[in-house]
């Protein structure tokens, strides 16, 4: 039995088929573009709306306020909890300080984010799109302002269809001013992550901020205003790659916002349904009130089944529940459900939910594993480092005595907030000696260096074979750095090349 509704309704709002159904007479080869239909999402109350408000408040609160959180790192270091210090090549996140060569932590975060997205998708569909995506969150906020200024769906539709008047102009001015103010704050908060926030706020207030700050605020003001105010669902439909990827990643056991057509069809009015039920005939719960479509921010009809335009925000669930309560029918005609369950119910079987599947287990194991790896690396992170690069050309030099010499570029990093004394030794070739260019020649087999807090120092180092007779053309060497307490703080491996 196929109870799916006809195609006309299935794709009405977003399918390209609207080109024809939308009323514009196609030219011989069709129109060059598909005109966008303005969407007027209606306000709604309910569980999912409440969840969305909370997430909106929390995420935007973090975004706008985080730059002002302070974190003491001692003298000379910035005291902003989260700071991307491009000038000095450092990234600060509370107790974490990342140097450029540790960018793999960022890579790790990206991998975790991707796997997190996959896991969410395998469990409950487009959770990201519906609740967490910045495009969704800011659009939600802009829609709330639109309703505040111009009224709800019907009012806005009526006003937009009607003539211009003073009140309408005033409302539009209020709306766009508020939008621009929020957009400006969005850009303003963004630049605060790259500079000391209180200083920059003072500079911005007195128009003394660097030009780059104004440029970035301008760019983000523009993108926020345009994307959240005007582009809205177009971003999800035409710009974002995730819907396509998501469609390829989902499976039949993933929960999705689903119209339970096994319960809803055939659609009929409340009165007719009551009559049909008394006679024992088929009667669906869907009264075709269109509330699910009216509240949808992307203009989708969820009753058409899974749709690329659906961001699964759950607002249609709230809208439908409100109607079901009024007509005295059970809630969740639209709900987080799976196609498998619809087929099972139609066959008279119990619902099954399988959150534990190969893919969810795999994603969870990977997430936990990568997180543990990163955390382990982070907490055993050295506060000093040593990088050694062997001269590429020439690989070795024969001296007048027949002795062999190798050259290296050595870079020490003192990642601690205090000045330190390092001692370098080179191991692996007994009988050899080494020199650092610019330092006094010594025969003690060690080199002493003082390096300031949070600084690096690069030197050129020469290893002489001395009395050693290197076997073969490559002998492994170990460069060892100890601090004033004699503890080894960094090592590096390289080779001594010989003819």
């Amino acid at each position: 039995m196929d109870l799916r509704i006809d195609e006309k309704q299935a794709g009405e709002r977003v399918s390209p088929a609207t080109l024809v159904s939308g009323g514009a007479a196609p030219a011989e080869d069709g129109a060059l573009y598909e005109a966008r239909k303005q969407i007027y999402p209606q306000s709604v109350t309910g569980t999912f709306r409440r969840i969305k408000w909370i997430i909106l408040a929390v995420t935007l609160g973090i975004y706008y306020l985080l730059p002002f959180v302070r974190w003491d790192r001692g003298p000379g270091a910035p005291n902003q909890a989260v700071l991307v210090d491009l000038e000095h090549n450092r990234f600060y996140f509370f107790f974490i300080e990342i140097w450029p060569q540790e960018v793999y932590y960022i890579t790790g975060l990206m991998i975790l984010a991707a796997l997190g997205l996959f896991l969410m998708n395998a469990l409950a569909g487009r959770v990201w799109c519906g609740y967490l995506c910045p495009q969704t969150v800011w659009t939600d906020l802009f829609l709330a302002i639109e309703r505040l200024a111009e009224g709800d769906r019907r009012e806005r539709m009526r006003k937009d269809a009607g003539p211009w008047n003073v009140q309408r102009v005033a409302e539009k001015i209020v709306k766009h001013s508020l939008w621009l103010a929020i957009a400006w704050w969005t850009g303003g908060a963004w630049v605060l992550y790259f500079n000391d926030a209180p200083t920059l706020v003072r500079q911005l207030a007195t128009f003394h901020a660097p030009a780059i700050a104004y440029i970035w605020i301008g760019i983000l003001t523009g993108t926020t205003y345009i994307l959240a105010g005007f582009m809205r669902e177009q971003v999800c439909l035409y710009m974002c790659p995730w819907p396509r990827i998501q469609a390829a990643l989902t499976d039949e056991n993933a929960l999705n916002v689903t119209y339970r057509y096994d319960r809803g069809e055939p659609r009929m009015s409340v009165k007719k349904a009551k009559a049909a039920r008394t006679l024992g005939g088929p009667a669906g719960d869907c009264v075709d009130c269109g509330q699910c479509v009216a509240v949808c921010p992307t203009g989708v009809d969820i009753r058409g089944g899974l749709n690329m335009g659906c961001i699964q925000c759950g607002l249609c669930i709230d809208a439908c529940d409100n109607v079901m309560r009024k007509i005295g029918r059970p809630e969740r005609l639209i709900a987080y459900d799976t196609d498998v369950n619809i087929q099972r119910r139609l066959a008279g079987l119990e619902n099954v939910f399988k959150p534990v599947r190969v893919r969810t287990v795999l994603y969870t194991v990977l997430i936990v594993g990568i997180f543990a790896l990163m955390a382990g690396k982070m907490f055993t992170r050295a506060d000093a480092s040593l990088a050694v690069i062997h001269d590429r050309n020439p690989l070795f030099v024969t001296l007048s005595t027949g002795e062999i010499r190798n050259g290296y570029t050595v870079r020490f990093a003192n990642m601690a907030p205090k000045s330190r004394h390092f001692v370098l030794k080179v191991e692996g070739l007994p009988g050899s000696r080494f020199e650092v260019i610019g330092e006094d020649k010594n025969t003690s087999g060690r080199e002493d260096l003082d390096i300031g807090p949070d600084q690096t120092r690069e030197t050129r180092l020469l290893v002489f074979s001395g009395t050693a007779k290197p076997q073969g053309n490559s002998t492994p060497l170990r460069f060892v750095v100890t601090d004033e307490t004699g503890k080894t703080v960094a090592t590096a491996k390289d080779f001594f090349r010989a003819p």
Binding site: E7, S15, G407
Partner: protein
């Protein structure tokens, strides 16, 4: 809804087709959103603006110069000027510092090495190699053997005035005579002296030459420049013949060839091509390669 019986509408999806068909597969016509189409038109307008603002079209006697006369050549000149301004502070420090003090100061050393490496790559690498490793006839600047001296001052003089560079009156001069070519030494004398020279650094006697005779030839003809003990003379650019470094190779053939043909390599005088600070930086760079005295 499009009429499903219309041949220009795909029956399955209800989407109009472009009418193009290959082997029964029709192409669906799914138009772009309007804003995207406009974005496309704007890029066309943008490209026309580009022709007007920037140099674009070639002509018979020139090209269109654009509104602001921008071109990549003047941009490079401007960039170089900016680079010079940026480097001015370091350059001034380097210029004021005494040659001997630069290597002791980590900051000056890093400036000198950076500038020296760049100047070396541009001017010296074609002969001496990218890593200053040299080649046959072109000295390796990494090792500790110096024809004309390896102290900072010696290296600076060599850079400034060149070697056998007659255009510079202060150039280093002194050349190996062509003993064989001009008939000073006969073939067997050359053979004997070549093997004697090899023996100075412990190399084997090839071809059964008479080393005693070779020693005599050396004392009469070579010792004036290379010294009685063969350790060379940096005043004359005469190499030390007792060590392991051979500019032209240590084979019998290579040594006999040197004795027969003589002469020596040339190096340009850089004093009139590079400014004094660059020469200073190059001096420190070459010295700090590891062989500097």
């Amino acid at each position: 809804m499009a009429n499903a019986s219309d041949p220009r509408v795909d029956a399955r999806t209800g989407t109009p087709t472009t009418g193009h068909e290959w082997d029964g597969i029709a192409e669906l016509n799914t138009p772009l959103p309007r804003w995207w189409l406009w974005t496309f038109y704007i890029t066309i307008v943008w490209s026309i603006a580009y022709w007007i603002v920037y140099p674009a079209w070639p002509g018979i006697a020139g090209w269109t110069h654009g509104m602001f006369g921008w071109n990549s050549r003047t941009a490079v000149v401007q960039d170089l000027q900016e680079l010079k301004t940026m480097r001015a502070a370091g350059e001034a420090k380097l210029s004021a510092a005494k040659l001997e003090d630069i290597e002791k100061n980590p900051e000056l050393l890093s400036i000198a090495r950076a500038q020296g490496a760049a100047a070396f790559a541009n001017n010296c690498a074609p002969c001496h190699g990218a890593g200053a490793q040299g080649a046959v006839g072109y000295p390796n600047l990494n090792d500790d053997e110096w024809l004309w001296g390896g102290k900072l001052a010696d290296i600076q003089t060599t850079l400034q005035h060149g070697i056998r560079w007659d255009a510079d009156k202060d150039t280093r001069s002194g050349a190996m005579p062509a003993f064989g070519k001009d008939g000073t030494l006969k073939a067997d004398e050359i053979k004997n002296v070549a093997q004697y020279v090899r023996s100075l650094s412990g190399l084997s006697n090839e071809g059964g030459a008479d080393l005693a005779k070779g020693k005599k030839v050396f004392a009469d003809n070579c010792a004036a420049c290379h010294g009685d003990d063969g350790k060379g003379n940096q005043e004359l650019g005469a190499p030390n013949l007792t060590d392991k470094i051979w500019l032209y190779g240590s084979t019998t053939a290579a040594i006999e060839n040197r004795v027969t043909v003589g002469g020596g390599g040339q190096m340009p005088a850089w004093g009139d091509r590079l400014d004094p600070t660059t020469i200073k930086a190059l001096t420190v760079y070459v010295h700090s390669l590891g062989g500097g005295k």
